[in-house]
Symmetry: C2
Subunit: 475 residues, 2 copies
């Protein structure tokens, strides 16, 4: 059993640093543990309070008197070693140390303190995340030990991060995009558990389909490479690295006490490890969303289907620019497509339906295109829903009667559309400028089809899927 | 007076193609004209209805019997020449021709029809947008003649587009990002008015501060270059071009009947014209937002200020990667910064406050950094507002009392923060993962400071501002 498995699935948690003062970080974290829906036992430890957030509080870990699987320490730096020692004596084996002021605070004796907690942990067989981290999130047991509420639970993306902000502060962005997180962990200074450990763990976590890493340093390159290569045989890994460059490197040292290397070194390390590098957090999320939700294409021949020239042309342009092709369809295929499209439509590839309200055309076109054997995937623009008719609804109350069956059909249509990539084993992406939370778009996202707000982003994500295909094939 | 000036500021509009059938495109467009708040006279022309959307309808333009500044034609292709001729006879001088099926429909006689309407327009001195376009939007007179309701009105960005979708379908995305549009025009096939005309017009439109172009072809390169070079002396131009490549070129031909050229040709044309090229619509909007709202930096020395390591490191990395610097501060400047930061903060540049709730620190730091003369601009991460405290509010009703003055101060703080770049003449960008519509972020956007959802996007936008500096200096 991987040591992270116990840490991510505790049945009971003891918590230091929460009180009844709502302005304390520990209090916020404990409130989030309780609010997110964790079903296990939670024991706040506090020197003077008798209850914390309505739970009975304990003076010390010894007082709890029941088994504790995991402790979280959100404490002033100086008291961490003593408490960790107490935990060791009480038989605790897993810890999350939130407190900062260790290795990253080199001038103030932080390096020595960090060595001290590592020694204590070794002595008692404690495996821990941190210090200087923000906690974990595991959607499977509704556990959120971070400072940020309402993580977008679900999906099949796992994420390990040397940045706490990217672990939790991105929740609002994830919700706005419709991306869900299966598990995340903030590794902080990695005094014990590091990214290589996280990869080993994610590799065997059954429902994880794609893994993201935020990297400022790789502390054990050999182990990282070994864990990555074993993982990418079945699961893609996407990493962002921002330690390269002069200022990034300076910043990183003060952040997690990490020694960084030039971009080229990390490019090489990632390439040899089969890790796909993304430019930034937004691109990493795009790639992970695509990789975790859609079939991996077997080649780079893409169909572009749209009902509007500009977005169709943009998709075609960016697909080619990203190294894939938008092949001219055969005459036979064009003839089949022409049977279902209108007079003004252009079918060659891209397929441009021009302005068209009959959405079932998309479904028919995708069936024909996917089954032709002439493409390996498809990118689609033109799903608008009904939002833009709001001015009309006001003026024509009778529209409601036309709309109701239309909307019912719309949702059914989208559900069928989202099944097409699965049944043909070829990916589908949607380009749309409508927010993911709109009722026009939400059903697509629920159906597991990623929606991108620009042609460039959609094409880059498709290209990342092809890259993973190559990595997996040569692994 | 530029011919587009009359077209964009009509006092009266005659409209063909609207009826009382809410499912017709013309009806939707007329409803949008009425709903968006246009104060001028509107005359629907309809062969059989006596009223259209509650307005008196006219059998023909001759029946209107009052002056008409602009006509919009949303009609079947074949009847367009006849109606245009009638308009000419009635003394109409400006038209928007929405109808498709002209040059872009080469196989079906569209080319000949387009020549016919050009001849008619010349004969009567009519200047027109289209055909095959989606209309215009002018926030100054609340005129929206497109199919899409609720354009985000305001700001100082002008946009001319050879794609209708990018003109109007992006409205929801613009609203979600907090970007406003001053004027947009869909130029369609450009049978008469083209992008070069639009540039000439925008150049003298007083409140336009930045101009966007969606380009599939430049039909009159010499005139385009001349208009662009004259414009960029005072206003930046950002263009996207997607006609390059094989499939993009094919798609473009069927879209607007445009003959495209390789990427390199357009790169050269843009460079010689002083036009900044963006990769896609999202990047174009990022650039325009930055250029239209913030002071142009006089050099590439950037301060990065954050309260979190990961985003700070990412900003530093991407700023350097985009060709700017994050210079080490002088000892004197570091000492001044240390006076206001906490024990765990790192000041060198990037400045990392570590987790910090006292927002006024940002204000003090920016004052010190801007006035030091050591940087030309700043990028900031760490404005979270109060959203993440929602779990606490539920548990601690008394928090409301702490919050109220805090929130009042928060808005005042943000208002002052947004003034700082103006008073120092140095740009400020904010990085945030919280949606623009959240009360935590909306005041920043109202204050005219662009908010980007990734470090890479913020750095790219800053780099575009520097590029414009060079263009303007050498124009």
């Amino acid at each position: 059993m991987h040591p992270l498995r116990d840490l991510m699935y505790p049945s009971s948690i003891a918590f230091w640093g929460a009180s009844n003062n709502p302005m304390k970080m520990g209090t916020v974290q404990l409130a989030n543990i309780l609010e997110t829906g964790f079903k296990g036992d939670v024991y706040p430890i506090h020197p003077s309070e008798t209850t914390v957030l309505g739970l009975p509080a304990y003076k010390s870990i010894a007082d709890v008197g029941r088994p504790v699987d995991l402790v979280q320490l959100t404490l002033p730096t100086d008291v961490v070693p003593g408490i960790l020692e107490e935990c060791g004596k009480a038989g605790i084996k897993r810890a999350i140390i939130i407190s900062g002021g260790f290795k990253e605070f080199a001038g103030g004796g932080g390096r020595e303190l960090e060595r001290e907690i590592v020694d204590i942990a070794k002595r008692y067989g404690i495996r821990f995340l941190g210090p200087n981290c923000v906690g974990i999130f595991n959607s499977l047991i509704s556990l959120n030990s971070t400072t940020i509420p309402r993580p977008p639970m679900g999906g099949s993306i796992a994420f390990a991060s040397q940045s706490g902000a990217y672990t939790a502060m991105i929740n609002p962005m994830l919700r706005a995009q419709g991306i869900k997180m299966y598990q995340t962990m903030s590794v902080g200074n990695e005094a014990d558990i590091d990214l290589a450990d996280c990869l080993e763990y994610f590799k065997d976590e059954p429902d994880v389909k794609a893994i993201g890493l935020y990297v400022e340093t790789v502390r054990r390159p050999r182990e990282f490479m070994k864990a990555a290569r074993a993982t990418v045989k079945s699961k893609p890994i996407v990493a962002i690295y921002v330690g390269g460059g002069e200022a990034g490197s300076r910043s990183s040292l003060s952040h997690t006490g990490a020694l960084t290397g030039p971009d080229e070194v990390y490019d090489g390390l990632f390439r040899q490890s089969g890790v796909i590098r993304a430019d930034d957090i937004d691109q990493m999320l795009d790639f992970l969303w695509a990789l975790s939700s859609q079939p991996i294409p077997s080649g780079g021949r893409m169909a572009v289907v749209s009902n509007s020239g500009g977005p169709g042309t943009s998709l075609a342009y960016h697909v080619e620019k990203a190294g894939m092709t938008v092949p001219l369809f055969s005459e036979a295929l064009n003839a089949r497509l022409k049977e279902v499209t209108g007079r003004l439509a252009y079918v060659g590839n891209p397929v441009d339906l021009t302005f068209e309200m009959d959405l079932t055309l998309f479904e028919q076109l995708l069936d024909i295109v996917y089954s032709s054997g002439e493409v390996d995937g498809a990118l689609l623009y033109g799903i608008f829903g009904w939002d833009f008719m709001t001015n009309m609804e006001k003026r024509f109350p009778a529209l409601k009667q036309i709309q109701e069956p239309w909307i019912a059909n719309y949702e059914k249509f989208l559900a069928r559309l989202c099944e097409q990539p699965k049944s043909y084993g070829k990916p589908l992406f949607v380009l749309s400028f409508i927010p993911a939370t709109s009722p026009s778009i939400a059903p697509i996202i629920r159906g597991g089809v990623p929606v991108f707000p620009s042609a460039r982003r959609a094409a880059a994500a498709m290209s990342a899927m092809l890259r993973y295909r190559q990595i997996r094939d040569s692994a």
